[in-house]
């Protein structure tokens, strides 16, 4: 065993960063530093001389980290993207979970694995939560639009709520569109006509 590993996590969201740090510290004996996004990312990371850098695969700032892989880049030691030289599907798992890792060349695989495994599990959870949140938000917004469309129909045609919804649904089915889309169109049109 060598000295303690230094892991840099690039994460803007404070709560998520804390969750990742806690998980990493619980799983392995390592030093964890969190850096938010900035336009000087690569140099700020290099200042910590990390052994491993973890970043969300969906982050557009990821391309800045590619400079770490260059011999002439800001990190003195050569860096490889971990996923390229690891075996056993760990790479695919990481990409699917939405984490990419940059690892200093020559670091023993048995030291990398627990860190990456933990990161994968944590990022997967974060991604799930994010999807759930986005879905819920979308569903809520759609419901709001549908309610407004129903209200408009009830007033304009003097019908009750069930009849208004039935009319929306029938129109959607006839036109091969989603109820939410028909409702959206109706609300937009009524605003224009007002």
């Amino acid at each position: 065993m060598g000295a303690k590993l230094t892991v840099v996590v690039v994460e803007e969201d404070r709560d998520r960063a804390i969750a990742i740090v806690d998980a990493l510290k619980a799983a392995t004996d390592c030093e964890v530093v969190v850096i938010g996004n900035s336009s000087a990312l690569a140099r700020r990371i290099a200042a910590h001389e990390p052994d491993i850098v973890l970043i969300d695969i969906d982050s557009p700032t990821r391309d800045m980290l590619e400079e770490l892989t260059l011999a002439s880049g800001p990190l003195e030691r050569p860096v490889a993207m971990f996923v390229s030289n690891s075996a056993g599907g760990l790479a695919q798992a990481a990409v699917e979970a939405g984490v990419s890792a940059y690892v200093v060349d020559g670091l023993a695989p048995q030291r990398i694995k627990p860190v990456i495994d933990t990161a994968i599990a944590r990022f997967r959870m974060v991604r799930q939560m994010r999807t759930e949140l986005a879905e819920t938000r979308r569903a809520l917004e759609e419901r709001k639009v549908i309610d407004r469309a129903k209200g408009l129909l009830m007033k304009a045609k003097q019908i009750d709520e069930d009849a208004a919804y039935a009319l929306l649904r029938k129109t959607a089915m006839d036109q091969g569109r989603r109820v939410a889309d028909v409702a959206e169109a109706l609300v937009t049109a009524s605003e224009l006509l007002r």
Partner: protein, 390 residues
């Protein structure tokens, strides 16, 4: 024929048009495939999605497959560039501060002369000059270095830094970068946001620079030749469609959709028509063939193009030149292009050419004898011979 769905990664840029049009205008469907187009948040993620099998094909910066073959950049999965999907299309621009200093010297922003632009920049620069580019392995980087080397900027301290285009405005405002080289629509977005002014089109430096390629995993190309052929034909026909001037309005509308670039069609139109608004003062500049999708055998992956890129990378990263050029050239698959192209594609007689040797559009030997190659000069008049590494 059963429709096969192929996942394809791309970056939302004007030059992703051949892939988007292949799907939207039915060229993919004609070949019995459907492209599941996945917009990527970064170039590294495009590369990783392709390398690790999340997608079967990708819209890629032309130097990336070469860099991967050379072991540069961390991921070493063998990848093949089977077709060039666009030639030229980058712009070089400066931030507001630099623009003001240039104007104070009476610089006219002709958007054409690389030597004059470099001279003017060198004159107004005292400290180091920092350029932002989207990715360390890109035609942007190659064009900038080539431009610095051959002009007054060679004597100035110039640095190139990776900044994702969506963050370019912020980086300019924060003073992290002074200037930039990006693909459209990002240059025009910068002008419209008031972040800066455009200085040169990429083609002023090299008038026929391969910009993006269609890339697939090399093992996939071997195990799925029939799918590859269908994919290549669909993209080739889309590129041919895009080269017709009467399709530009439609193309701009399609690309502007929320699912693709999500910017107004008028912005996209500038690159497609080569008519630019280069500054906040609404100065107009015209660049014929600013972005070429098809004409002049633009889609042919010339091995000499890969060798040019490989040589430049070798010199900068301290690799043996001759060996690096040989290894790099193998990833531009002129062999697969010859094997898979539709009957109407007029194939050039050779797979390598002297780069920079055509000052004017010229008819050349080809299978059917109708091929005209477009001017491919470098601004300094140099000619690159792929057989002579030094």
């Amino acid at each position: 024929m059963k429709t096969v769905t192929l996942p394809v990664a791309y970056m939302p840029l004007v030059d992703a048009a051949p892939l988007i049009v292949a799907q939207e205008m039915g060229f993919a469907q004609t070949e019995g495939i459907a492209l599941d187009l996945i917009a990527a948040p970064s170039w590294s993620s495009v590369r990783d999605m392709l390398a690790f099998g999340r997608v079967d094909a990708a819209h890629m910066l032309s130097p990336v497959p070469v860099a991967m073959a050379l072991g540069l950049g961390g991921v070493a999965t063998p990848v093949s560039a089977v077709m060039v999907t666009s030639v030229n299309g980058d712009v070089i621009g400066v931030g507001r501060a630099l623009e003001a200093r240039l104007r104070a010297t009476g610089f006219g922003f002709d958007f054409a002369d690389p030597r004059a632009a470099a001279r003017a920049l060198a004159q107004v620069t005292d400290g180091p000059l920092v350029f932002g580019v989207p990715f360390p392995f890109s035609m942007h980087v190659e064009l900038l270095h080539y431009w610095f080397d051959g002009t007054d900027l060679g004597g100035t301290k110039v640095t190139i830094r990776t900044v994702p285009p969506p963050l370019m405005a912020e980086a300019l405002a924060a003073g992290d970068i002074d200037a930039f080289c990006v693909g459209e629509p990002w240059g025009s977005v910068a002008v419209d946001q008031g972040s800066g002014a455009l200085l040169l089109p990429g083609k002023a430096i090299w008038s026929f620079a391969p910009e993006k390629v269609l890339a697939v995993r090399t093992d996939w190309a071997e195990t799925e030749p029939h799918l590859l052929r269908r994919l290549m034909r669909a993209v080739w026909r889309a590129a041919q469609w895009l080269a017709r001037p009467d399709t530009r309005t439609t193309a701009a509308e399609i690309l502007s959709r929320k699912a693709y670039l999500d910017v107004p069609p008028e912005l996209i139109d500038r690159a497609l028509n080569g008519r630019f608004t280069i500054s906040g003062q609404a100065e107009q500049r015209e660049v014929p063939r600013f972005l070429e999708f098809h004409d002049g055998a633009a889609n042919f992956p010339w091995r000499s193009q890969a060798k040019w890129v490989a040589r430049r990378l070798a010199l900068r990263h301290g690799l043996p030149v001759a060996e690096t050029m040989a290894r790099g050239s193998e990833v531009y698959r002129s062999d697969l292009f010859r094997a898979h192209m539709p009957i109407e594609a007029d194939l050039p007689g050779a797979s390598e050419k002297l780069e920079g040797a055509i000052p004017h559009d010229t008819a050349v030997a080809s299978q059917k004898g109708h091929l005209t190659l477009l001017a491919d000069s470098f601004f300094d008049g140099a000619i690159f011979d792929p057989d002579l590494p030094d």
